[in-house]
C-alpha cells in the first residue's frame, strides 16, 4: 500500500495513458479482426493503412488550418481524412488484389498483403517524406483537464481523455449494433460464419466482402488519424502498428469484436504501465500478454474452439 501512495500519480497517469492508447489500438485491431472474419486473410498491409490515414489527416489538417480555418475544424478533418482514405483505398485493394486471390492457398493470400505492405511503405515515404509529421492543433485547442486522483489531480489532455476513448466506445457500440440488429450486419455475420452457406442463401458475398474491407480500411485510417495529434508520424509506424494489432487480435480470439476491446484495454494498460515502471519492457509486454493468454486458451480469450474436421 505504501508503494501505491508514493507512486499514486504514476499509477494514475499510466491508467489514463493506457486508456487513450488502448482506444487507438482498438480502432486498428477491430478493423483487422472484421476483415479477417470475412476474408479469412490477416491483412499485413493494415498497419500501412493506419499510417496513411495518419499522414493524410495531418496533411489535410495542416492545409485547412493554413487557409485560416478555426482550430476546432481540425477534429472533423481527422474523421474526413479517414473516410477519404478508406473509400479510395479500400475498394481499390479489395477489387484489384484480394478478390483475385479468393480460394488460393492461405500462404499466398497472406503474402499478397505482405507485398502490398512493402509497396505502401515506400509509397508513403515517397509521398509524405521521411521527416516526422506533427499535427497537434486539435490537442491544443481542447486544452488540458485536471483529473482528480485520490488527493491529487493529474493534468491530462482533454483530447486523450474524452475524444480518443469516446470515439472508440462509439465505434464499438455502432459495430455491435450494426452486426446484431441490421440486415447488412447479419449478412456480414453470415459470410463470416460460412461463406458457402451464406451464398447459397442468396447473400451477395462479394458485395459484403467489399463493404467489410472498406469499413476495415476506414477503421485503420481512423486509428491513424486519431493518433496523429498525440504522436508524430515517422516511417516505420505502420510496421510496428500491425504487429501490435496482431497481438490484440490473437489475444482476443479471431472474429471477436467486444473481445478486441477487452484485449486492447489489457494490452494498452499493460504497455503504459511498462512505460512508467520498466521502460525496457515496453515493447515486450503486449507479446508477453498474448503468449500468456494463448498458453491457457489457444483460441484466444473469447475465441470459440473449432471442432476438428476429419
Amino acid at each position: 500500500m505504501s508503494w501505491l501512495s508514493e507512486n499514486g500519480l504514476i499509477v494514475g497517469l499510466a491508467l489514463l495513458d493506457g486508456l487513450s492508447y488502448a482506444a487507438a489500438v482498438f480502432m486498428v485491431a477491430v478493423g483487422l479482426n472484421l476483415v479477417f472474419g470475412v476474408l479469412r486473410v490477416l491483412n499485413v498491409a493494415h498497419g500501412s493503412l493506419f499510417a496513411i490515414g495518419g499522414y493524410v489527416a495531418a496533411s489535410l489538417g495542416l492545409f485547412v488550418l493554413s487557409l485560416g480555418a478555426p482550430p476546432w475544424v481540425g477534429l472533423p478533418v481527422l474523421l474526413a481524412a479517414a473516410i477519404l482514405v478508406g473509400v479510395v483505398l479500400g475498394p481499390l485493394i479489395e477489387r484489384l488484389l484480394l478478390r483475385r486471390m479468393q480460394g488460393q492457398e492461405p500462404v499466398l493470400q497472406l503474402l499478397v498483403t505482405f507485398a502490398l505492405f512493402m509497396i505502401l511503405e515506400d509509397l508513403q515515404k515517397l509521398v509524405f517524406g521521411v521527416q516526422p509529421v506533427v499535427f497537434d492543433a486539435p490537442l491544443k485547442w481542447l486544452g488540458t483537464v485536471d483529473v482528480p486522483f485520490g488527493a491529487d489531480t493529474i493534468p491530462f489532455t482533454a483530447y486523450q481523455l474524452y475524444v480518443l476513448p469516446g470515439v472508440a466506445v462509439a465505434t464499438l457500440a455502432l459495430l455491435a449494433f450494426v452486426l446484431r440488429y441490421t440486415l447488412i450486419g447479419r449478412m456480414v455475420v453470415a459470410v463470416t460464419a460460412d461463406r458457402e452457406a451464406a451464398r447459397a442463401l442468396g447473400i451477395d458475398a462479394a458485395k459484403v466482402t467489399l463493404l467489410t474491407f472498406t469499413v476495415g480500411t476506414i477503421l485503420a485510417a481512423l486509428g491513424g488519424a486519431l493518433s496523429v495529434p498525440t504522436v508524430s508520424l515517422v516511417p516505420g509506424v505502420g510496421a510496428s502498428t500491425i504487429v501490435l494489432s496482431f497481438a490484440v487480435v490473437a489475444t482476443a480470439g479471431l472474429g471477436q469484436i467486444e473481445g478486441a476491446a477487452v484485449a486492447a484495454l489489457l494490452i494498452g494498460l499493460g504497455r503504459s504501465f511498462a512505460v512508467y515502471v520498466a521502460p525496457e519492457f515496453e515493447v515486450v509486454v503486449p507479446y508477453a500478454i498474448m503468449v500468456a493468454v494463448l498458453l491457457f486458451r489457444p483460441q484466444g480469450l473469447f475465441g470459440v474452439a473449432e471442432t476438428r474436421r476429419i
Binding site: R100, V107, D122, E282, I310
Partner: protein, 310 residues
C-alpha cells in the same frame, strides 16, 4: 524432375556461383548473403510442406548472428563459431518448438512473430549488453586457425556457405522423400488422419521446426561472418517476411527453389536500390505480387513448366 537432374543442376549452380564470384568481385558478398538466406529459407520450405508459415523465423537468424558476435571475442574461429551458433539456434528452436507446434496456421505464425519481436526488443532496449540499434561489430576471425586476408576470408565464407547449402539441400531432399517427409505433408492435407495412423503430428512438426531453426542458425552465422556487423534489424518481423517472400519467389516445389529465390531476391534488391534508392522495397513488392499472380509455383515452377512444355 529426376533425382540425378536435380543434383546435376545443384552442382551447376554451385559452379556458376564460383564463376560469377571470381568474375565480378562485388558479387561475392551478394552471393554469400543469398546462400545464407537460402539456408534459412530451406527451413521455411520444410514448414511450408506442413502448411505452416512462420512470420518469426528471423529470430533464429538473429540469435545465431548475435551468438557469433558475442562468442567471436572469445573463440575467433569460424569453424567453431558456426556450429555453436547453429546449436544455440537449434536448442532455442527446440524449447520454443515444444510450445508452438501445438498451434496451427494463423496462431502458429503469430506466436512465432511475437517471440521474434520480443527478442528484437530485447536486442534493441538492453543497450548495455547489445549496444542497441547500433549493433555489434565482429572482429577478424580465423579459418582452421589461419588468419586470412580480406579477399581470402571472403572466399572462405563463400566456400563454407556453398558446402552447407549443398549438404543441407541434399539432406532436406532425402528427408522430404522419407516417410517422415510424407507425414509432414500430411499435416497440411489432413492432420487428423495422421493421428489415426498412429503418427504424432506434433512430433513430426517439432522435428521440422528444430531443423528449420538450426538451418536458419547456419544462415545467420554466415550473415554475421559476411557483414561483420549485427543489428537488431535481423530479428525484425520484416526480415521474417522477407524469408517467406524468398520461399514463394523461388518456389516450394524443390530444395533448389530457396537458393534460386534468394539469389533472385538479393540481385533484384541490389539493382533496385541502385536504380530507385527510395523505392527498392516497392520494386520487391511488385515483383512478389507478379510472382504470386502469374507464377504461383515460383521461379522453380517456371523452369519445370518450361521443361514440360518443351
Amino acid at each position: 524432375m529426376s533425382r540425378r537432374n536435380e543434383a546435376l543442376l545443384a552442382l551447376l549452380g554451385a559452379a556458376l556461383v564460383v564463376a560469377l564470384a571470381a568474375a565480378v568481385p562485388w558479387l561475392r558478398f551478394v552471393l554469400t548473403i543469398a546462400l545464407a538466406k537460402g539456408l534459412a529459407v530451406l527451413g521455411i520450405l520444410l514448414l511450408l510442406r506442413a502448411g505452416q508459415v512462420s512470420f518469426g523465423h528471423a529470430l533464429y537468424v538473429a540469435l545465431a548472428a548475435y551468438t557469433v558476435a558475442f562468442a567471436g571475442g572469445l573463440v575467433p574461429e569460424a569453424l567453431l563459431l558456426l556450429p555453436l551458433a547453429a546449436l544455440v539456434a537449434g536448442l532455442v528452436g527446440l524449447a520454443i518448438g515444444l510450445f508452438v507446434v501445438r498451434y496451427r496456421e494463423i496462431f502458429f505464425g503469430m506466436l512465432n512473430l511475437a517471440l521474434s519481436m520480443v527478442f528484437y526488443s530485447v536486442l534493441e532496449k538492453f543497450y548495455a549488453i547489445t549496444h542497441g540499434a547500433d549493433g555489434i561489430r565482429i572482429g577478424p576471425v580465423t579459418f582452421l586457425g589461419q588468419r586470412l586476408s580480406g579477399e581470402a576470408a571472403e572466399w572462405a565464407v563463400l566456400g563454407l556457405a556453398l558446402v552447407l547449402a549443398l549438404g543441407f539441400g541434399a539432406l532436406v531432399r532425402v528427408a522430404l522423400l522419407s516417410p517422415w517427409g510424407e507425414a509432414l505433408a500430411g499435416i497440411k492435407t489432413r492432420e487428423t488422419r495422421l493421428d489415426f495412423m498412429g503418427i504424432a503430428p506434433r512430433r513430426v512438426l517439432l522435428i521440422a521446426y528444430v531443423a528449420a531453426s538450426a538451418m536458419a542458425g547456419c544462415g545467420g552465422a554466415l550473415i554475421a561472418l559476411t557483414t561483420r556487423h549485427v543489428t537488431p534489424a535481423l530479428a525484425y518481423w520484416t526480415t521474417s517476411g522477407e524469408l517467406v517472400f524468398i520461399a514463394i519467389l523461388g518456389g516450394a516445389g524443390s530444395v533448389l527453389g530457396p537458393f534460386l529465390g534468394a539469389a533472385a531476391y538479393e540481385l533484384t534488391r541490389v539493382y533496385a536500390a541502385a536504380l530507385v534508392a527510395n523505392a527498392w522495397q516497392m520494386v520487391l513488392g511488385i515483383v512478389l505480387l507478379g510472382v504470386i499472380v502469374f507464377a504461383p509455383g515460383g521461379l522453380w515452377g517456371l523452369i519445370t513448366r518450361g521443361r514440360k512444355a518443351a
